[in-house]
Symmetry: C3
Subunit: 183 residues, 3 copies
């Protein structure tokens, strides 16, 4: 019945080590659906490999994992299904990969937002808040900060519900009428 | 009737590209009053000129614009009127101009806060949250971070209502009994 | 009666100059109990000395102050009592001292969290949000950002209530059934 009402979508934003990934994982696990992770990070160095391994250990082995450093929209369309819940962790690494590859962040962000409404099952996105510190000296860092802020706005507008996590605790930015059914 | 109850004032804070300017513009446009922008930014380089042009394009041509990089209190007193709504975008650039000019940020911030209660019409301020990242190495950046935090507190205390914007979505920090009449 | 129900605990987080210390001080003063400050900062340079002096001037002379740059759990156990309210300001400086001394931030954070439930009186912690800006270039800064985020999560989980302060105004992250009795 809830399924017949269409796709459910949640964006979880927060700072570094705010507990946003864990919150999103718990939301996925509480859904009772089969959890699928779309991982956007690539283990390019030891520090990143350690972060990815720590996240995997937190999730446990009942998760199915798909890697999609760039082709996120396609991976999402392929993975979404009524019986599964897809967790995209995270949009920040995807955006970083996209910008390093010379992609158009605004266009790709809008394309991703457009995909959300077409999915056959629920999706949860995790994304970083990176715009609330001192504006960086570095122009590339400023461009990334702008692109991340814009992407968060674009995905937030397309999602049914949006939550800000701080110190492991959620603040609702956009309440969903259907949040009980997804969470 | 609502007018007779005195000045209405709103402070909108948020990180870089959080959607705070757009939220403030929509609040101004929904008021039904004639919108006046007090712009504090100066186009000193190409990057800043591009940011200013992008904001102008978002606003549309029915806005009247006044530039006030330093004399913000005077510009505000001159522009405020019962039939208009004044948008100050943004306090962060004003503070930056003030500190570069050797002004006393604490005293000027308190002076601006004192002006709010004397205005003949409603005002909306936009200001950046810059204090939620790693404390910067650079002492000038730390001074700016402190001055911005203090200014946000001072103006928040003087305004009827305060909103925090993240991912384009508002969280009410200080609800106004009169918020319906301003927005 | 409220006392018999056990310890009350509050975590106040916020960015630099968000008003978090002042909010925590007011909460302590409104409790009607004797306020005790556990200060974790050491005046190692002129800038830090000025920050500490400014905080002391804000608090007034009826506060009793204990310095605990490292042995925070012990100081907390010694200071907590039914007739007093202990304010720890702040966890960020304690974490910085701990990491500079080569301590295990995760283990010490969990130990501190375990102490909270054993205290003989109420406690308020102040801590910085440092994870919502651009990820720093510097690996030590990234480690600190991660450790601070993790510590905030650990202490938030152990406290009865958690508040996020921005522009001097509180947002409740974790409401306490007993918040009326502590504040």
């Amino acid at each position: 019945m809830a399924e017949a009402q269409g796709i459910r979508s949640l964006l979880v934003i927060g700072g570094a080590r705010s507990g946003k990934s864990r919150y999103a994982q718990m939301a996925a696990e509480r859904s009772g659906k089969k959890p699928v992770l779309i991982a956007t990070g690539e283990a390019k160095d030891a520090e990143m490999a350690a972060r990815i391994a720590a996240h995997q250990a937190e999730r446990g082995s009942h998760w199915c994992t798909i890697e999609a450093p760039l082709a996120l929209g396609d991976a999402l369309k392929a993975a979404a299904a009524p019986s599964t819940i897809v967790l995209v962790d995270c949009l920040t690494l995807w955006l970083s990969n996209l910008m390093l590859a010379g992609g158009d962040a605004a266009a790709e962000g809008q394309h991703l937002a457009d995909v959300i409404a077409t999915l056959a099952g629920p999706v949860i996105f995790v994304s970083n808040e990176v715009g609330s510190g001192i504006v960086p000296d570095n122009i590339l860092a400023r461009r990334f900060q702008d692109a991340q802020g814009r992407l968060n706005q674009t995905i937030a507008a397309a999602c049914d519900s949006v939550v800000l996590v701080a110190a492991g605790l959620p603040l609702t930015l956009k309440p969903s009428a259907h949040s009980a059914s997804i969470l």
